[in-house]
């Protein structure tokens, strides 16, 4: 992944024995794999989860690591591509929503630095927000990376005629740069009325609002599960 250090975003969402553990963080793929197990043990110990979580957590992490490693080759990123990234996350009491452009061929890009600057500029009190933002950014970058990798793979397998189609499909979410950066373009300054759309918004919720959000989430999830069950049975 073309960033200063390639860290893998890991997402965990386990629900066993009535304990729910949801977490997102970044992992350094160059860490030895023995760290996974010790991390899982430490986490379970610190959060006082039942010990069945240890294997689950380490399996999940290793699965995601393996997925990442199966995507070798970074030559797809040489070509410059600017994609819009979105943030829409809630960390404890803070809700952050934002859109911005990211150049995935820029090897100096630093999600963590960006997240920290964002939190500083907006005076976010909660120190857990910055890492969550960085993880979200990395996840999106990762998705884009995997999409482009699989697109290229398909193109190689498919016929020549199809290749053009695939590539353009993958490039749709990139910004139409010529419009902005071309010699006769209107320049790179946005109109003032567009500023608010591209800027970040940060809301601090009270505890009750957080509670209601959680309620809605769980209800939604339950509905999804029911639908899945009925789908499988039917």
């Amino acid at each position: 992944m073309p960033t200063k250090e390639s860290l893998i975003p890991i997402h965990l969402d386990l629900d066993l024995d009535g304990h729910r553990y949801k977490d997102a963080f970044t992992w350094n793929p160059h860490d030895p794999d023995s760290q996974v197990l010790s991390f899982a043990k430490r986490t379970v110990k610190d959060l006082k989860l039942p010990p069945t979580f240890v294997t689950q957590i380490s399996q999940s992490i290793q699965h995601q690591l393996a997925e990442f490693r199966s995507f070798g080759g970074q030559d797809m990123f040489i070509q410059e591509k600017i994609v819009p990234l979105k943030l829409d996350l809630r960390v404890n009491n803070t809700v952050v929503r934002d859109t911005f452009l990211w150049d995935i061929s820029n090897f100096e890009s630093d999600p963590e630095g960006f997240a920290v600057t964002l939190c500083n500029d907006l005076d976010v009190a909660d120190p857990e927000v910055a890492p969550a933002i960085a993880v979200a950014i990395r996840e999106q970058l990762y998705e884009i990376a995997t999409q482009s990798v699989s697109a290229v793979k398909e193109a190689k397998l498919g016929k020549k005629g199809r290749r053009g189609y695939e590539l353009s499909k993958g490039g749709n979410n990139a910004l139409d740069v010529s419009r902005y950066f071309g010699s006769k373009g209107s320049g790179v300054i946005r109109k003032r009325k567009d500023w608010y759309m591209n800027g970040p918004t940060v809301d601090v919720l009270t505890n009750e609002e957080v509670g209601t959000l959680e309620e809605l989430n769980s209800r939604f999830r339950r509905k999804l599960d029911e639908k899945e069950d009925s789908f499988q049975q039917g």
Binding site: R42, K45, E80, I82, N92, F100, L101, W102, D103, N106, E108, S109, D110, G113, F114, V116, T117, L118, N120, D121, L122, D123, V124, A125, D126, P127, L175, V177, S178, Y180, F181, G182, G187, V188, I189, R190, R192, W195, Y196, N198, G199, P200
Partner: protein, 593 residues
């Protein structure tokens, strides 16, 4: 970068000429041009490689940012405001923004935001923190929207995750135990002076402040006084927003998460300080840990290992963070509190010897703990790190090892080892001899006991040492419980334990060797059998092959005979020509007339 150079803005755009200050070193900057400095710092725009980065775009970005800043020079321009108005890769924009900021082309005259890092760098000079807790605490930024009395107060410097690792100043014996001494009283939280008895006021969060300091608080105290504070008490979110000075409860308008420390006193306005209600000492336990609390703490650590909730329960008057902080401060406290301790608790059942209850052995441990707390410094510090290889409890704390060792050896071994240890100690110093009443020891027992291999002569030795040990016990009990007496006893017991271990270790080693030999023999046998089976198998195969060979030969001969006879028949009947393919032509030609 100090001289204020002046530079006129683009005169054509604005009717009135305003002067903006930028540092002298940035005077290379021109509105209409792009300087070499810029090209070097941001080469991406000038390489001509990509469509999105060219000098014109760079100039647009730069001019926009600088103009945005100049809309209000006193206000600090943040990157976020800028990037929402610009199209382009945010990382690159950030780089550009930082470039401009470093060269003072923007934010030069802006009021500096109380940056976390800078505030701490200042505070490091002022605050000497003792033994901060070992876990990371990310510090929160102060809120600028607070009313002036909530201005950022002094920040307690802990190991901040963002600032990189700043190791705590090494604690020394006097630091820790200096305040333990119940005679001299505790230290004032502000000025570090010893507080005369009862001449201090307890602040809301348990910090003790001498009367002098509580009365005279000025804004300059943070610059001049060196504040020596005891370990950070638990961060209780205070109900009142009273802005007391140095570590005061946090302003209620900022409900920080539990890990946020207290903010720092920058020049706090004087009137706000005097309104502090400090008169009544609050009923918070004092910061100095009493002996009984220490005892409970050590017990708790031994019993519960890594589980701080249980330890805090055990030490009833302290909460989790205080316990941890206190333990860290003790010499070797970190080793006690290390996570490997937890492992040892689970490994105890592995010991194959009889599971003697740890509670029973806790008795001697308790006594050891209290006295040993002070003694540990002078006593064998490296042994704590040494790994005693036996039955898996290698990384335990010293006391725990002693306890375990004493439980796993048999009484005879222990007694013999005890005496050997006592002899050694006696040899060391005369005082010890007096303590142990050496006159009772004969020369022959010495020679007997110096042999540390009890299993062979247990019976003979066991009696003598036990008798002697009992005799030595009595004088000890009679003599006064002096400090040094216990010291020697402790050392004796530790040496005992170690001697006992050595004996046991040898036993185990012999046993293991024998086992290994047995296993080796079985392996070799198994392999031999395997080879023999293989050989039999091959012999059978050979026999089968021979048989088949014979059969084949027979068939060959039979076929040849048939062929000859059919030829003869053909001859006799006078067939003129052959038309068969199988018969080789040359031979037929010869035989036919």
């Amino acid at each position: 970068m100090s001289e204020g150079g002046e530079m006129a803005p683009n005169g054509g755009a604005e009717p009135s000429r305003e002067l903006y200050t930028i540092p002298f070193s940035s005077s290379w900057f021109q509105w209409n041009e792009i300087h070499e400095t810029e090209k070097q710092a941001l080469p991406e725009f000038f390489e001509g490689v990509s469509t999105t980065k060219n000098p014109r775009i760079y100039k647009d970005y730069r001019d926009f940012i600088i103009n945005k800043y100049r809309e209000d020079t006193s206000k600090r321009l943040t990157f976020t405001e800028v990037r929402k108005a610009l199209i382009g890769d945010v990382s690159l924009l950030h780089k550009l923004f930082r470039f401009l900021e470093n060269w003072g082309l923007i934010n030069f005259s802006a009021a500096d935001k109380p940056n976390k890092k800078e505030a701490q760098a200042v505070e490091m000079r002022v605050l000497v923190e003792e033994g901060p807790p070992v876990w990371l605490r990310v510090l929160s930024a102060p809120m600028p929207g607070l009313p002036p009395q909530g201005k950022p107060l002094e920040e307690k410097k802990l190991i901040g995750g963002e600032n990189g690792l700043k190791l705590p100043p090494l604690t020394s014996y006097s630091d820790i135990y200096g305040e333990w001494d119940p005679r001299t009283g505790s230290l004032c939280g502000f000025c570090g002076d010893r507080c005369l008895a009862r001449q201090y006021i307890k602040m809301e969060d348990g910090l003790k402040v001498c009367l002098k300091c509580s009365k005279s608080k000025d804004g300059d105290k943070d610059e001049e006084t060196e504040v020596k504070t005891a370990p950070a008490p638990a961060p209780d979110p205070a109900p009142t927003p009273a802005p007391a000075p140095v570590p005061a409860p946090e302003p209620a308008s900022a409900p920080e998460p539990a890990t946020a420390p207290k903010p720092a006193p920058a020049p706090a306005p004087a009137p706000a300080l005097l309104s502090v209600p400090i008169s009544t000492p609050t009923p918070v336990p004092s910061l100095a840990w009493t002996d009984s609390e220490m005892l409970l703490l050590l017990e708790g650590v031994l019993k519960h290992g890594d589980d701080w909730d249980l330890i805090a329960q055990h030490v009833r008057t302290r909460n989790k963070t205080e316990c941890i902080a206190r333990l860290i401060q003790l010499p070797f406290g970190e080793h006690i509190a290390s996570p490997t301790n937890g492992k040892s608790v689970s490994r105890l059942p592995v010991t194959q010897s009889k599971p003697v209850e740890i509670e029973i052995s806790k008795e001697p441990v308790e006594i050891n703990g209290e006295v040993g707390g002070l003694e540990r410094i002078s006593e064998e510090p490296p042994s704590k790190k040494s790994r005693i290889a036996y039955n898996g409890s290698a990384t335990d704390s010293l006391i725990k090892q002693v306890a375990i060792l004493s439980t796993i050896s048999g009484p005879h071994i222990t007694a013999a080892a005890a005496d050997a240890a006592i002899i050694e100690l006696c040899n060391e110093s005369d005082h010890a001899k007096v303590v142990f009443d050496k006159s009772k020891f004969d020369a022959e027992t010495k020679s007997n006991l110096s042999n540390q291999e009890p299993p062979s002569d247990l019976g003979a030795e066991g009696e003598q040492p036990t008798i002697l040990l009992q005799e030595t016990e009595t004088p000890c009990n009679e003599s006064e419980e002096k400090f040094t007496t216990t010291e020697y006893r402790i050392r004796a017991s530790v040496a005992t334990a170690i001697g006992a271990t050595a004996a046991r270790a040898k036993l185990l080693a012999d046993h293991e060797e024998r086992e290994i030999e047995n296993l080796r023999a079985t392996i070799i046998e198994a392999q031999m059998r395997k080879l023999q089976v293989k050989m039999k198998h091959f012999a059978e195969l050979e026999a089968m092959m021979d048989q088949e060979y014979d059969l084949l030969q027979q068939q060959k001969r039979y076929l040849v005979r048939e062929w000859v006879s059919s030829l003869r028949q053909a001859f006799d009947t006078g067939v003129p020509r052959w038309k068969e393919n199988a018969v080789p032509k040359p031979s037929i030609i010869r035989s036919t007339p």
